[in-house]
C-alpha cells in the first residue's frame, strides 16, 4: 500500500480511467489549471476549459454522454450548480425514464463542497440532499483518499448521472486556494485521516450505494458522510470513554442510500444520530429517520446538521457546522437515562 493525499487520489484514479477509456474527458472552468497534470498529459481535447457558462456546459455534457462519451463535467463549487440546475433537474435525471429506459446518461458532475474555512454560505454549502431529492441522480461524497479514488471510478462506470462531491477541507489544493491562499496565519480543522491515507496500487471501483461501517459499537449509531465522518469518529472516542459504545457508519452515497446498513446498525443499537453537514430541513437526516420508521423499527433518533445559512464569522461558522462537541452533547442528551 502507498500513501496519497485526497486530491491526488482522485487525480490518480482519473488518470488510470483516462488511459483506459478514450471516450472519457474532463470539461469545466479553469480545468487547464485545476487539473494541470491531466491537461499536460492528455491535452486540451480531453481536458477542456470552458467559459463561465455553467448552464451551457453542464447541459452539453448531458447530451455528450447520451451520444456515447463519458464526460466528467466540473462545477467549481456545488453552490454554482444553481446556475445549471435545469440540466440536472429536468434533463440528466429524466432522459432514461422518459425514453422508456432506452437511453442512459453516463455523466459525472464533479464539484467541491463544504465549509470550515471562512467563505460563507454562497461557497460552502453541501446541497447533497437537494440533489439526491431528484429521482435519477446519484450523489457520492467520499471521506478519505482510498474512497475518493475508488468512488470516482464508481461514478465513471455508472450508467446514469452521478454527482461527485469533494470536500474542500480534504482536498489540499482547494483549501490552499480558497482557504489559506499561501498564508501561514490561518488554520483549519482538517481531519488527518481524510486528508491523506493509504491507497491501492491499482484503482478498482466500489459498489454503488454501499456504506462502510468504520467503527463498531452497541449503544449508538452515528450515520454520516464526508468530513463529518471524521467528527463522528472523534466523538465516538469521547462517547466510548463515557461508557457509550458508539458505531460509526460512513454512508459514502447519499443516493442510492444504503438503508440496509443503517437498519442493521440501528437494529442493534436502538439509537441513531445522523450527522449531516447539509441543511437539517427536508434533507438526508430526515430521510434516514423516515426510512427506518417505514421498516417499523423502534429507535431513538436525533440529528446534528447545518440549520441556517452558513455565516461568514469563523466562530459562528464552526458552531453552525456539525462539530464533535455538538455530536457528544446530542448523544449524552439522548442517552442520559
Amino acid at each position: 500500500m502507498k500513501r496519497m493525499g485526497f486530491a491526488d487520489a482522485i487525480e490518480s484514479a482519473l488518470k488510470q480511467a483516462m488511459i483506459e477509456d478514450p471516450s472519457l474527458f474532463i470539461m469545466g472552468e479553469d480545468v487547464h489549471g485545476l487539473r494541470v497534470n491531466l491537461y499536460l498529459q492528455f491535452g486540451k481535447d480531453r481536458v477542456k476549459t470552458t467559459p463561465i457558462s455553467e448552464s451551457a456546459f453542464v447541459g452539453a455534457a448531458v447530451t455528450a454522454a447520451m451520444a456515447g462519451l463519458r464526460p466528467i463535467v466540473e462545477v467549481m463549487f456545488i453552490d454554482f450548480i444553481g446556475v445549471a440546475m435545469d440540466a440536472l433537474l429536468n434533463h440528466a435525471s429524466k432522459t432514461y425514464f422518459f425514453s422508456g429506459e432506452k437511453w442512459n446518461v453516463p455523466v459525472v458532475i464533479r464539484a467541491s463542497c463544504g465549509g470550515g474555512y471562512g467563505d460563507a454560505g454562497q461557497h460552502e454549502q453541501s446541497l447533497w440532499g437537494w440533489l439526491a431529492h431528484v429521482p435519477g441522480l446519484s450523489v457520492v461524497v467520499p471521506s478519505n483518499p482510498a474512497d475518493a479514488g475508488r468512488l470516482m471510478l464508481s461514478a465513471i462506470i455508472a450508467d446514469h448521472p452521478v454527482v461527485y462531491l469533494e470536500h474542500k477541507l480534504l482536498a489540499d489544493y482547494l483549501l490552499d486556494s480558497v482557504g489559506s491562499g499561501g498564508r501561514t496565519t490561518v488554520s483549519f480543522d482538517v481531519p488527518e485521516a481524510g486528508k491523506e491515507g493509504e491507497v491501492p496500487e491499482r484503482w478498482e471501483p466500489l459498489p454503488l450505494g454501499k456504506a462502510n461501517c468504520l467503527r463498531e459499537g452497541s449503544d449508538l449509531s452515528l450515520v454520516s458522510l464526508g468530513v463529518s465522518v471524521h467528527r463522528c469518529l472523534e466523538a465516538a472516542e469521547e462517547l466510548d470513554a463515557m461508557g457509550i459504545s458508539t458505531e460509526v457508519i460512513d454512508l459514502r452515497w447519499v443516493s442510492p442510500i444504503d438503508i440496509d446498513a443503517i437498519f442493521k446498525s440501528v437494529s442493534k443499537t436502538g439509537a441513531v444520530i445522523v450527522v449531516d453537514e447539509d441543511y437539517k430541513q427536508f434533507g438526508l437526516s430526515g430521510e434516514v429517520c423516515a426510512l427506518l420508521a417505514e421498516r417499523n423499527l423502534e429507535f431513538r433518533y436525533d440529528r446534528v446538521c447545518t440549520e441556517t445559512t452558513i455565516p461568514y464569522n469563523r466562530d459562528l461558522e464552526d458552531k453552525t457546522l456539525p462539530n464533535v462537541q455538538r455530536i457528544v452533547d446530542t448523544a449524552r442528551r439522548m442517552l442520559k437515562d
Binding site: 472552468e29 467559459p51 446556475v83 460563507a120 491562499g181 464569522n313
Partner: protein, 339 residues
C-alpha cells in the same frame, strides 16, 4: 471644472486603494477569513461611474465590492469590521466581502458570477415602476458575459426599456482562463444584438471613464429610459484573489509539470509541450499586468503631478482618514473580538 473632476476621482480612487491595502494586511495576518477578491486596478472604472450617481440610484456588484462600497460612501469602519466578521460590521459579520448589502444605499453584491445583471435589472425595474428617475448600475467582469443570466438580463432590460448601465470590467481573465479563448464575437456586438448601444472606454483612464459615463448616464436617466453597455479594459493588480497561485511563484512548480509532459501515456508529445507553453505563458502574462503603466491610480497621479502641493495634501488627508479608520476598527475589534 474638468480638473476638479480629476481631483475628485483621484481622491475616491486613492481612498479605495489605501483601504484595500489595509484589507490586504489584515488578510495576511489571518484576521480576514477565506477568499478575498480585491478591486485594485478597477478603481478608475468604479470612480468614473459611482461619482456621478445620485441618491436613490442602485448598484449591483460582483465579488469585487470593496471599491464601489467605499466610493458610494459606506462607513469604512463598518466595512472593515464586516471583513473581520465582527457583529458591528456592515452585515453583522454574517456576509463577508462577497455578500455585502446596504439597504439604505441600494447596494447589493454577490459571489455568483453574472448575477449583477439580473440584480441591476430588477433595481431599474423598481425605479421605473415607482417613476423615481433613478438608474441602476451593474458591475461585472468579461467572464460574466458568458453567463446566461447576464445575456438574458441584457435582453430583458432592452425590451422593458429599463434604466440600467451595464458595466463590463474587462481584464481578459476569467480566473485563470484567458477570456479571449472562451468568448465568441465581441462584447459590444453582443450588446448590440440585444438592441443595446455600447461604448468602449479605456478603464485605466479615470477621466475618460467619467466623461463617457457622464454622457451615458444622462441618456439612461429620465422619462425615455433605456439600458446602455460600457466595455472598459482593466487589470487586477492582486490577481483573481489574494494569494493567487499565478502570482505566487512558489505555487507554479515547473518540475511536476514536466513529469506529466514526459509521461509516456496520454496525448502526443507536441500537444503536451504546447500545453506546457500555455500554462507558462498564462503565469507570465498575469504577472505582466502588475506593471506601473497598468495602474490606473499611478496613471492619474502622473497627470496631476505638476500640482505637487495639492497632491500631497490629498494624499496625507487620505492617509489620516485610513489611519483613523483602522484605529477605530481595531479598537472595536479588540474590545469585542468575537461574538
Amino acid at each position: 471644472m474638468a480638473e476638479m473632476v480629476e481631483w475628485q476621482l483621484y481622491e475616491l480612487m486613492l481612498r479605495s486603494r489605501r483601504f484595500e491595502e489595509a484589507v490586504t494586511e489584515l488578510w495576511e495576518e489571518g484576521k480576514i477569513f477565506g477568499e478575498m477578491h480585491l478591486g485594485t486596478g478597477e478603481e478608475a472604472i468604479i470612480a468614473g461611474i459611482v461619482s456621478q450617481l445620485i441618491p436613490g440610484d442602485a448598484i449591483a456588484t460582483d465579488h469585487r465590492s470593496t471599491p464601489p462600497f467605499i466610493m458610494r460612501g459606506i462607513d469604512p469602519v463598518a466595512l472593515m469590521l464586516e471583513f473581520l466578521g465582527h457583529p458591528k460590521g456592515l452585515c453583522s459579520g454574517m456576509g463577508g466581502h462577497m455578500h455585502l448589502f446596504s439597504k439604505e444605499h441600494l447596494l447589493a453584491s454577490s459571489g455568483i458570477v453574472g448575477s449583477s445583471g439580473p440584480s441591476a435589472t430588477g433595481f431599474a425595474l423598481a425605479s421605473k415602476y415607482k417613476k423615481t428617475n433613478n438608474i441602476a448600475v451593474a458591475f461585472f467582469g468579461e467572464g460574466a458575459m458568458n453567463q446566461g443570466m447576464m445575456l438574458e438580463s441584457l435582453n430583458l432590460a432592452s425590451t422593458m426599456k429599463l434604466p440600467v448601465l451595464f458595466v463590463c470590467k474587462d481584464n481578459n481573465w476569467a480566473i485563470t482562463t484567458r477570456s479571449s479563448d472562451v468568448t465568441g464575437g465581441t462584447l459590444l456586438e453582443r450588446a448590440k444584438g440585444f438592441g443595446i448601444e455600447g461604448v468602449e472606454v479605456d478603464g485605466l483612464d479615470a477621466k475618460a471613464v467619467w466623461k463617457t459615463a457622464n454622457e451615458m448616464i444622462s441618456s439612461i436617466r429620465g422619462k425615455k429610459s433605456k439600458p446602455l453597455f460600457m466595455h472598459a479594459r482593466c487589470v487586477h493588480r492582486a490577481g483573481h484573489l489574494l494569494g493567487d497561485s499565478l502570482i505566487r511563484p512558489e505555487r507554479a512548480p515547473v518540475s511536476p509539470l514536466l513529469k506529466s509532459v514526459l509521461s509516456r501515456k496520454g496525448a502526443r508529445i507536441d500537444k503536451k509541450i504546447g500545453g506546457l507553453g500555455n500554462v507558462l505563458s498564462m503565469i507570465s502574462s498575469v504577472k505582466a499586468q502588475l506593471k506601473d503603466s497598468q495602474d490606473p491610480l499611478k496613471i492619474l497621479r502622473k497627470k496631476l503631478a505638476s500640482q505637487e502641493e495639492q497632491l500631497s495634501k490629498i494624499e496625507s488627508s487620505i492617509q489620516i482618514e485610513i489611519d483613523n479608520t483602522m484605529k477605530t476598527t481595531m479598537e472595536i475589534y479588540q474590545q469585542e473580538g468575537s461574538l
